[in-house]
Amino acid sequence: MASREPSVLRPVRDVAVVAFGQTATARSTDELSEVEMLMPVLHEVLAATGLRTSDIGFTCSGSSDYLAGRAFSFTMALDGVGAWPPISESHVEMDGAWALYEAWTKLQTGEADTALVYSYGKSSPGSLRDVLTRQLDPYYVAPLWPDSVALAALQAQALIDAGETDEPALAGVALRSRADAAANPHAQLGGDVAQGEYVVRPLRTGDCPPVGDGAAAVILAAGERARELCGRPAWIRGIDHRIEAHGLGVRDLTDSPSTRLAAERAGVFEHPVDTAELHAPFTSQEVVLRKALRLGDDVVVNPSGGALAANPMMAAGLIRLGEAAARIHRGASDRAVAHATSGPCLQQNLVALLEGDAR
C-alpha cells in the first residue's frame, strides 16, 4: 500500500465539471454508428459552454474495442470531434470516468485550462454477458465463460449469507431506482418494473441492469475559467480510484475496500454529502457501496435511477459523475459523491467529491 502518500489529496488546482450531456440510452441503435450516437452530446456540451473544439485545451475519451468489434474503434470518434487543427488528445480503454480522471490530471499540471471528456458504448451488437467474460483471467477463468450476471449473483449470495441484505431489500433498491428513473428522460428502464424471474439465483430480472447503447460528454474547466463557463460549477474537491485483486476467491465480495480507500483520499468522509450517484449495475452492489461510502439514510442515492435504469457500457460511470454535477449545477445538491466501477464484482472503483459554491 502507498503508505507515504497523504490520506487525503488536496488538488493543486480547482477544477470543475461545467457541462454534462448524455444520450437517451436505448436497447438497440442499429441505425447509428458510434460517431453518430456521440455527436449530439458533443454539440450539447459545447453549446452549453459556448466553446468550440479549437478552444478546448485537452480531449480525452473512453471506449472499448471489444464492444465495437474492431481495433482502434476510437479513431472514428476522433474524426467526429473535429481534430483539426491537431489537438492534444488521449484515450483510455476504460469507462469515461477514468478519461475524466486523466483530463483532471492534465488540468492539474497547468498545461490546459479546459478539457472535453467523452465516452460511448454499444452493447447491442453482441451478447454482453458473453463479451464481458473476455475480461477475465485468460488462462484459468475465461475458458469457463462465467458470465457477468453469474459473477454478480455470487456477490449477491455472499451478501445474503453474511446477513447484509435479503431478496426483499434488493427488490426495494430496484423499485426505488426505477421509480426515480421515471423522471429521467435519458433512462432506458423506468416506472413500474416487475422483479420478474430469477436470472441467476438470487438475482431476478429486476436486480439486473438493462443492456443498452449510449454516450456521454463532460467539459472540465479550471479556476476562474470554470466560473466564466458555468453559473454554478461542480468543483471536484477530490478524486481517486483504486483496484482490487482480480481473483474473486481472494476478495471479500461483501465489502469494497478499494471504494473506501478512494473515498478517503478524495476527502468524502470529511464532510457530509447530500447526494450519491453510485455505479451499481446490480441491486446487491448498491448495498456494498453504501457501506463502503458510509452513506446514511439522509443521503439521496441515485436520483437519476442509476445504472439499474440505464447502463451503457463505458459511459455509465461518466454519467454518474455527470448526473451528480448536473444536480449541483441546478442547485439540487451542494455536495455530492459520484462513483464509477469497472471489472467483475466491483473490482475497480473511482470516487469523486463534487461541491457547489455556497448560495
Binding site: A2, E5, R10, P85, S90, V92, Q108, L261
Partner: protein
C-alpha cells in the same frame, strides 16, 4: 486554495525491458509484464510498496484476445489497493502511457509512478487483428504495411530520394540491434545486399525493411524531485512532453508529413527551450516500423528541411557514430511488441542521457528525443529527456 504553481519536475529513475522475441511461450501475459516491472524496480532500487500508482498501455485488445487485460493484470503489476489506469492511443500508446504517468507526477497527484507497456503478439495475430472487415469503411488491406506503402511512395516522389535509402536505414538499425541485448532481431550475418535482395512485401517496402512481430514489455519508474534525490543511479529528467492527434482521413491531409507530428514536436521543443533540434539534440529514438519512415520523420520532427531527410540518412548522419544518431537500440525495425514500442523509444532515450545504454551508448548524450506515432499517421507522442534537471 491552490498549493503551488508550476509543474513538479519528472525524473526517470528506473527502466526495465524484457528480451523481445517472437514468442514468449515460457510466460503468461502476467509473467511478461511482471518481468519488465521487476527490472525497472530493481534499476531504481525500489520495491512494489514504493509505487503509488500504475499506468499501463497496450495496443488493441484483439492482439491478445483479452478485453481490458489490466483488470486481470492488477495483481501482477502490484497494483492491488492502488490506482491503475489503462491508456490506448493506437501505435503511439507506449509514449502516451509514459506521458500520462508523467502528468500524475507533474500535477502532484502522486510521487512515484510505475508505467508499463506491453504486447504479446504470439497470443494472436496482429496483422489480421488490424484487418477486420468493417462495413462502410476503407479496408486497411493486409495489416499496416498495405496502409503505409503508398505514403512511402509519395515521399519518394516528392523528395526525389533514391530507391536505396530505405535499405540503408534497415541495414543500420539491424546492425545497431546487435549491440542491444534486448532487441528481438540479432542478424549477425546482415549485409546491405541481403536487405536489398529481400522479397518485396508492399512495394516499395521489402521484407527486411519491416518490423518484426514481437512479444515484449517495457517499464519505467517516474518520480518527483524528492524521489530523484534518492535515486541510486543518475536520473533522466523530462524537459518536455506532448501528444497530438488529427483525423484519419480528410481532404488536405498530408500523410507524408502530418501536421500533428510537426505540432507535437514544436510543443516539446518549446517546453524544453530547444530552437535548433538538429544541433541541440544528441540522439533520437523514433518510431520507424518501415525503414523509409526514418527520413520522413527526420523532416517532420524538424531535423531536416522538407525533402532533405534522406540526405542525412544517406550521408551516415543517423548512424550510431554519426552526429545525429537515430535508433541506436535498433529501433522498431529490430523489435516490435506493438503496444510497448513507443515506450521502448522513450525508455531508450532516457537510457542514453543516463549514460546506461551499454554498447549502443552515444558518448556524451545530454539530450535525447523519444518519439512514437500510431493510427493512420495521426496519433503522436514525444518526450525530450535530459541529463540535467529542467531549468524552470
Amino acid at each position: 486554495m491552490s498549493r503551488s504553481v508550476g509543474k513538479e519536475p519528472v525524473a526517470v529513475v528506473g527502466i526495465g525491458q524484457t528480451r523481445h522475441v517472437a514468442a514468449r511461450r515460457d510466460v503468461s501475459i502476467a509473467g511478461l509484464v511482471r518481468e519488465a516491472a521487476a527490472r525497472a524496480l530493481a534499476d531504481a532500487e525500489l520495491t512494489w510498496a514504493d509505487i503509488d500508482a500504475v499506468v499501463i498501455g497496450k495496443a488493441p485488445d484483439f492482439f491478445e484476445g483479452v478485453m481490458m487485460p489490466e483488470l486481470y493484470l492488477a495483481d501482477a503489476l502490484g497494483a492491488v489497493g492502488k490506482p491503475l489506469l489503462r491508456v490506448h492511443t493506437a501505435g503511439s500508446v507506449g509514449g502516451s502511457t509514459a506521458l500520462v504517468a508523467a502528468d500524475l507526477v507533474a500535477g502532484r497527484v502522486h510521487g512515484t509512478v510505475l508505467t508499463l507497456a506491453f504486447e504479446k503478439q504470439s497470443e494472436s495475430n496482429a496483422m489480421w487483428g488490424l484487418s477486420l472487415p468493417i462495413p462502410f469503411q476503407q479496408p486497411l488491406l493486409a495489416g499496416a504495411g498495405g496502409f503505409f506503402a503508398p505514403h512511402v511512395r509519395a515521399y519518394m516522389r516528392r523528395s526525389g530520394a533514391p530507391d536505396t535509402v530505405g535499405s540503408l536505414v534497415a541495414y543500420k538499425d539491424r546492425r545497431n540491434a546487435l549491440k542491444n541485448p534486448f532487441a528481438h532481431l540479432h542478424e549477425h550475418d546482415i549485409t546491405l545486399e541481403k536487405v536489398q535482395a529481400s522479397p518485396m512485401l508492399w512495394d516499395p517496402i521489402r521484407y527486411s525493411e519491416t518490423c518484426p512481430s514481437s512479444d515484449g514489455a517495457c517499464a519505467m519508474v517516474l518520480t518527483d524531485r524528492a524521489g530523484a534525490a534518492r535515486s541510486p543511479r543518475p536520473p533522466a529528467w523530462m524537459h518536455g512532453g506532448a501528444m497530438r492527434s488529427e483525423p484519419t482521413l480528410f481532404a488536405g491531409k498530408d500523410f507524408v508529413s502530418p501536421r500533428a507530428g510537426k505540432d507535437c514536436a514544436a510543443d516539446v521543443y518549446r517546453q524544453a527551450g530547444v530552437t535548433d533540434p538538429r544541433r541541440e539534440i544528441d540522439a533520437v529514438e523514433m518510431y520507424v516500423p518501415f525503414s523509409w519512415y526514418e527520413p520522413m520523420w527526420l523532416e517532420n520532427l524538424g531535423f531536416a528541411g522538407e525533402g532533405e531527410g534522406w540526405k542525412l540518412t544517406e550521408a551516415g548522419v543517423t548512424e550510431l557514430e554519426g552526429d545525429l544518431p537515430v535508433n541506436m537500440s535498433g529501433g522498431v525495425l529490430s523489435a516490435n511488441p506493438i503496444g510497448a514500442s513507443g515506450m521502448i523509444r522513450f525508455a531508450e532515450a532516457a537510457l542514453q542521457v543516463r549514460g546506461q545504454a551499454g554498447e549502443h551508448q552515444v558518448a556524451g548524450a545530454r539530450r535525447a528525443l523519444g518519439h512514437a506515432y500510431g493510427g493512420g499517421s495521426q496519433f503522436f507522442s514525444m518526450w525530450l529527456v535530459g541529463a540535467e534537471p529542467p531549468a524552470s
